[in-house]
Subunit: 396 residues, 2 copies
């Protein structure tokens, strides 16, 4: 029997070769019929898709397939695939901007890739090389650069997704998977966002729990909120603020982290957000807001329209609705806002709780002093107009 | 302007006509290349699919499409569909048997349809007529009757599924949906089921909680258990027994309800299962087992190989691992078993808890007195050999 010293097939040393995710194998298959760019801004968030998508498949015997950028179109999947039945589906939200020199830019993208890998691990999807995927995401954005809106506050939303594709009905980890990335040009997430959004605090339906999955970006964390959100909308609220426990502690608005600004007795401002206790998503916009607020107070930067002498004290701590009610009654509750990739920073106008509304002073004006400063600075950094650390990177 | 008295288009009285789910609109498109029936039993559960599937689509402007029975094949879906991102996906598990006269039979199918409708409502999917869907499910099974195994304990597994198909990335209720039903001939769920299955009690990862969705049959309840199950398998256990709370109360094994049989001091048997507190699935096999056990004790039937004089007392109550440990130490813990559509009744051999195993007397023998009686009687009723109430219905 002849022994091959260098394996020429998919089997080496009797073990199947599990191919890693390899950007050098990329196949680019461009669309021959490019779509017209949208003229108006009135599409729903994520309704318009660009011309191309990135697709990579994983099979347990062969590993990751050659990545392919190809015309945007339907996925063809066996009806028994895990993604439909047991929901091992994870995703990320990122935004691409056009920088000052016309270059496509991403914001903190390796953080999204790392979180995506943690999400995949949590639902037992196959591991992948996060750097390799980021190379491919950048390549896709470069191919689709004409879709990146230049209008201020607008961007190209990037949705990396991994779904379980094991085509069997027994309940087991999905040993097949598909990574795909789709893109959508987006404006502001909320219509009429000059005013603060009305939000309903909900405690009877519970988003997450200690030992649950609320700290990971899993698709399955969202469906339970769809019915409560529909009910809230009928009551005049546009989002849910999820509470936990008998003390009505605030966790997050699904898909968005929550902040309040409170006047402190010494004239400074306290900016409070719930802690990363495993029940809320570790948001990247949340992390960037906290860092920028601290940088202002430490004198490393001056946030727009906030005096350098104004001290902004950040607190990651348990925050209850009862505290908000008390601060509001005392006139100390200055602002509430939600942050996330899709919204960046969105003002909260009022918070429904136990049949009454906590009304924010900024209800009609929209973002207050701190929220507005954060929105401006974060978008400036994201679009490359203001450099900050290594947060904004080009796609070249 | 001429007024039409009977609307001839999809618009009546200026309102779009939202079509209900209508079995009379069924289109049957039979495969021209029927598959060979499987010869051996060694496929994974739900690996083999039959020749056809049932598909019905819902769009918000038109309602339910004409149902179609067509060759089994891949679904074609926009990559932005809700099912991949936010997981508003629900399903049922049913089993079709061949009755004594060769007729296809289903077990309590309207209960599955009602539970499916409740599941759909919980994740804000469009409503549907449960009777209409059942007519279509029966029709599909009739078309596929040659696939129903006649071997004892084998059956045709039926998987009605509803997925959200709204093709937009904004987080909102899916106002588009697809119902589909696929079929798979199955044997016993667990291999080597002559012995009791080893099961690991897990409390650090939590399947459900008050205000959560554990009481509904949602796809999203399953993915969080895939990683804990993989870890348990590496420790020699094949399933998870989900605990809740500081008192280590037993909830369910994912996809299966849990029962124990305890020797009572007066010589009777206590059969205990956790209550329907919203954290466990209201299983149909669970309900049928409880009813049959009560019927035995009430003299309405005699379960196989259990003396008519043996009183079986059922209890739906909080059940903790500490109780199981104590009963085991006292020699009173006679049996533990899991029940569900896929397994019917599966014996538990040992339960890992806090680093030790609670070993059941039936570990090597498989099902004990009560579990075996239930398995036999439930399968006899399901296959139409023993009539009981209206539980088994024909598909004609």
């Amino acid at each position: 029997m002849e022994i091959q010293t260098t394996p020429s097939t998919a089997v080496a040393n009797g073990e199947p070769h599990i191919a890693p995710l390899d950007p050098y194998k990329l196949i680019v298959n461009l669309s021959k019929n490019l779509k017209a760019l949208p003229i108006t801004d009135d599409a729903h968030f994520g309704e318009i898709k660009t011309d191309h998508m990135l697709v990579i498949n994983y099979e347990p015997t062969t590993g990751w397939s050659a990545p392919e950028i190809k015309p945007y179109g339907p996925l063809s999947l066996d009806p028994a695939c895990s993604c439909f039945h047991y929901c091992p589906n994870v995703f990320e939200g990122m935004k691409a901007y056009i920088g000052p020199n016309g270059e496509p830019r991403l914001f903190w993208p390796h953080k999204n890739m790392e979180r995506l890998a943690r999400s995949a691990e949590r639902v037992a999807l196959p591991p992948f090389d996060t750097d390799a995927l980021l190379v491919l995401v950048k390549r896709l954005i470069t191919v689709e650069a004409r879709w990146i809106p230049s209008k201020p506050g607008h961007s190209l939303y990037v949705r990396p997704t991994i779904i379980g594709t094991r085509p069997m009905l027994g309940v087991a980890a999905s040993d097949s998977a598909m990574i795909y990335v789709i893109l959508s040009p987006v404006g502001r997430y909320f219509n009429g966002d000059a005013k603060g959004i009305p939000i309903l605090a909900v405690g009877h339906s519970v988003r997450s729990w200690p030992g649950g999955t609320g700290g990971h970006k899993l698709g399955l964390n969202y469906a339970p909120g769809l019915l409560p959100q529909r009910i809230a909308e009928k009551q005049g609220y546009s989002q849910i603020l999820w509470l936990f426990g008998e003390d009505s502690r605030i966790t997050e608005a699904s898909g968005m982290n929550f902040f309040v600004v409170v006047q402190s007795d010494d004239g400074d401002l306290d900016i409070i957000t719930p802690p990363l206790d495993g029940m809320i998503l570790p948001g990247l916009t949340r992390a960037s807001c906290l860092e920028l607020l601290d940088a202002h107070t430490q004198g490393k930067t001056v946030l727009p329209n906030i005096p350098a002498s104004t001290r902004l004290h950040t607190h990651e701590r348990v925050l209850t609705m009862h505290e908000l009610v008390a601060w509001s009654a005392e006139g100390k509750l200055l602002e509430a806002f939600c942050v996330g990739t899709a919204v960046v920073v969105a003002p909260v106008g009022r918070i429904g709780f136990e049949g009454k509304d906590v009304v924010l002073p900024t209800e009609d004006a929209g973002l207050g002093l701190v929220g507005k400063a954060l929105w401006e600075r974060v978008v400036d950094i994201q679009s490359g107009r203001v450099p900050w650390e290594d947060w904004s990177v080009t796609c070249e």
